[in-house]
Symmetry: C2
Amino acid sequence: MTPNILRETEEFLHEQIPLTRAMGVQVESYDGQTLVLTAPLEPNHNHLGTAFGGSLSAIATLTGYSLLWLLLGDRESHIVIRESSIRYRHPVRSTIRAQCQSPNEDTVSAFKTQFRQVGKARLKLQVFIKNEQRICVEFEGEFVALK
Amino acid sequence: MTPNILRETEEFLHEQIPLTRAMGVQVESYDGQTLVLTAPLEPNHNHLGTAFGGSLSAIATLTGYSLLWLLLGDRESHIVIRESSIRYRHPVRSTIRAQCQSPNEDTVSAFKTQFRQVGKARLKLQVFIKNEQRICVEFEGEFVALK
């Protein structure tokens, strides 16, 4: 992927969802399969000096949302989140780094076909936040794309 | 409850969790049973002009966390969230208003006893966000208090 798509996605998030700017969210990488969003700890810490659960759930939501936006590549579509669950296994003590991998090709292909034919399709995405070589946060969200 | 406890809780959140200030979180009311936190739409909107899912999950997390903090009344304790699930039923189109009700007396009493005896106790809390006379967001979180 060109650096352009990273910068465009980041600008879109900052312009359209102002909290992402307050959180310092950056689009670190996207290889067509895996998207990584980051945010510094400083604006996102809690009363214990580790990452605030609300920031972690927000960046996980954003990462799933953004991956779907990139997969779909349809600027006219709307994406919303229907439901999600999150498990906080360990505290995050430095930069928050959230990673979402595209589901397998068949799943993505079925999702795109349904979206084209019906104008509405759902996709479950998992997001992981790693810190100090371990998975600290596990997130699963169901997203809906609408024409 | 005196207005003091509302102001103190709000100041605690703004000082200890800086994202709450960026979100404009306010402690609206607490009657010893039900806590209501609010946040204006403007800093929390998404690309569709409705409330951003990440802001909704963050304020729901905060409301559960703050209710537990108020119930426990122990400034030396730490409260963390272990896991949560959230369902976005309808978009929130104006001020976000998150409400968390204390569980029944027996549950709270058992929680406090365990916390005193073991120094660690868990509690599940539900948070609802209503807008335009309907429940738009349902949240359930498991919180842990630690000495």
